[in-house]
Amino acid sequence: MNEDKIEPNSYVFIRLPSATLRITKLAPRSTIHLGKFGSFYADDIIGKSYGYTYEIKDDKHVDTIYSSEGLFPSSTVDADEEEDGEETENTPVPEEKEVGTNENTRDDPAVQKLSMTDIEALKKTASGEKIIETVIKSHAAFHKKSVYSQEKYKRRKQQKFLRRFTPCSVGSCEIIEYFQYKDHHRILELTSESLGLILSLANIRPGGKYIVIDETGGLVAGAMMERMGGEGMIMFAHENEHPNMDVMKFMNFPEALVAQMIKTINLFELFYPEEEEDVKVLSEDTLSKMKSSRRGQYYRRLARHVELQSIFQHISDGLFDGLILATTLETKPLLDRLIPALQGSRQIVVYNTAKEPLVATSHDLIADLRVLAPTILESRVRKYQVFPGRTHPEMTSKSGGGYILWGTRVLPSKVQAGGKKRRKPNAPKPTSNGDAANRAKVAETWREEPTDAVL
């Protein structure tokens, strides 16, 4: 998981001038194909720092773009940067008199003097920038466009013809960006703002021992790993025979690190530890007579058994430092099983794509008293187009982001066996604003005076 330099055989996130995103494995000596943007030799970028943008040449080698440019050549906004004298009349300075309108714009396919074949021929010989220049020069009505629409036109052509790309290291943000457009459901519609909030609220940090039920292909667990720096443990509980970490695999964690930090347990093992069968310990003598494959199998089973026993011990000792649920399974039975595994004053975070299940869970927790101040949060990021004189929120944005239920595990001095709460005649009434925690607190005072006893 080197986030600074491109390592051989790592997955790399590739940003292109068009909105297309790719995640590609960079095998040494391979050629990476980027569709209409061309192909390049992986070796040209392996070993380089992340952050550079490259231009694909005809021989499939790449040139590094100088740092004042990224995917798009010289800023389309700042007029001062414009070097071409002849362009000055079109420089996009947003002064009233220079802002054209679409008053005289007419749809007319004849304004573009280049034919499709001309452009195809051009693509074979010229660089992306040259093509764009030619296309603009051949556009009879380009100067009639407003400066804004000139820029938009140019940007559209850049998205089409530039043969540039920027490789990025694949972290949780890139995974989200990629799946947001591809298959958002596969990561339970998580967004960076929701994931960031989950990780912060759950207090994920190096050295912590956390529980996660993660139906996002390991994105959540992977994001936790990013915040743990190789220290601590994640108990990864899952509903199938084998854990699904198909998404996490793109994040380039070394296998050994994953094995060291992530301890998997299926729900059957989690809920019925007593049904876990002992592994019969075999003598050296028996083992030496075994076929090596059988012997290997035996050692793996034994190691797994020992690991499971230690997980069971952690659960029964209640030693965990936080809990994240990102699952479509019903929450209540999971919380009932897992809350006792948490130490006092540790965070519980439940993510769901819909609010209603969290509302139900929230009501359960209000009655439960082991979770303080359950709160449902909905965080959304809104992107803006920012150009001088033309700043506004973007017209469309991706949906998703779900809802987050956050509460703190506490140790009530008297655990109420979750039944009905009876109110004393003169008991304080629940606050009218429905503050869940206050109501829980009030509910608590209705009972006899709390004792000093500490659980």
Partner: protein, 386 residues
């Protein structure tokens, strides 16, 4: 406030920080966030002989020491049966309880910034200004003991307070506080460290004045990410101009909005119940009219039998008002009309709903993100641009 109690140096001496490490139980003079209500959390350090006095009662520090974090503690006063929760500090809980010296970066923004800037354990981060050091705590938790935060504050009293607080919280090995105006003097730390940050957070009135100073203090080997936090659009525009001029790429401006929902219960009021109630009212009105008519008839037919008729119909003085108020609408009362019904009370049907909190934090600041690629080695070995 209790936090100012003489805590001597106990907590700082061993250099562990509750923001960097978990504790199971509360050490003497260890930082505790005493949770009173959702909007009222008091930081304190329990020392023998002290007590916390609140409207929920008094709480002896001695009963906190060695208790487990998360304990629900009952008041020691016999008259008030209140209680508090003894919480383990986290940057998020701290941001809810800290002494505000400035507008702080709230958790929805802070968590998004940490995620977008790819802050990791070991990251090196520049922050300006420090403000109330709320975001500094969140950063410190994530960069952890192998990371570094250089934070700058130009307001001297705020700098002093932040520095003391960082030391108090055992974060001074990770967080280096400096006093100075980065817009004028650039990023000159108080410590003699060479800055090579890979992430920058600017929460300044004029970030565009600080941006030109960044190139010398950010990493030359790796990609550097920045976030500028500004409440006004005009600031954003000048910031973006400056970022472009300085070669920052992929400039993007966003706004985070976060809603807090409350789980509530709403009574299920079926139209059929309304209909039944109206039917009931009508039935009883008719019964009342019938009785009254019968009585009138009886009165007319037999003047002498008035007293007898009254006895037969078990008339009470109240009956005399029947013509004005022929019925009481309380016979069929499915929703407890006229009674004080508490949300979720037994005997009624409830639906679980959610409502957005009363006061919505609808705008905090605009966040401008960008990144700076590492300098390119030219063909002639020179570094820089064309």
């Amino acid at each position: 406030m209790d936090i100012s109690k003489p805590d001597t140096t106990d907590a700082c001496a061993d250099k562990t920080s509750p923001f960097l490490e978990f504790n199971s139980s509360i050490p003497e003079s260890g930082l505790v966030l005493a949770w009173l209500t959702r909007d009222n959390t008091k930081p304190l350090r329990p020392v023998q002989g002290s007590a916390l006095h609140t409207r929920f009662g008094s709480f002896q520090h001695s009963s906190m020491i060695s208790s487990k974090y998360g304990t629900q503690l009952a008041s020691s006063s016999s008259t008030q049966a209140g209680f508090i929760y003894l919480l383990h500090p986290t940057p998020e809980l701290w941001s809810l309880s800290l002494p505000h010296r400035t507008q702080i970066v709230y958790t929805p923004d802070a968590s998004y910034i940490v995620q977008r800037l790819r802050i990791r354990p070991g990251s090196k981060v520049i922050e300006a200004g420090t403000g109330s050091a709320s975001f500094t705590h969140a950063l410190a938790r994530t960069v952890a003991k192998n990371g570094r935060i250089w934070t700058f504050e130009f307001h001297e009293p705020r700098f002093e307070m932040a520095k003391k607080e960082i030391e108090d919280h055992g974060l001074d090995s990770v967080v280096k506080c400096s006093h100075g105006d980065v817009c004028v003097n650039g990023f000159i730390p108080a410590c003699d460290e060479i800055l090579d940050a890979s992430a920058v957070f600017l929460d300044l009135p004029s970030p565009w004045l600080a941006i030109p100073h960044l190139k010398t203090v950010v990493s030359k080997e790796k990609i550097v990410r920045i976030c500028c936090f500004s409440p006004c659009m005009e600031q954003v525009q000048r910031t973006i101009e400056s970022l472009q001029k300085e070669g920052w790429l992929d400039i993007e401006m966003v706004e985070v909005s976060c809603k807090r929902w409350e789980a509530r219960k709403e009574m299920i009021r079926k139209p059929q119940d309304a209909i039944e109630r109206l039917r009931d009212i009508k039935r009883r009105r008719n019964e009342g009219l019938k009785k009254r008519n019968e009585r009138k008839l009886a009165e007319e037919q037999n003047d002498e039998a008035v007293s007898e008729a009254q006895e037969n119909s078990a008339a009470t003085p109240a009956e005399k008002h029947v013509p004005d108020k022929p019925f009481l609408p309380s016979e069929y009362n499915p929703w407890g009309k006229g009674k004080r019904v508490h949300e979720g009370e037994d005997g009624y049907e409830w639906k679980e709903v959610s409502k957005v909190e009363a006061e919505l934090k609808s705008h905090t600041s605009y966040l401008t993100f960008a990144y700076l690629p590492p300098p390119v080695q030219g063909k002639d070995g020179s570094i820089g641009s064309e």
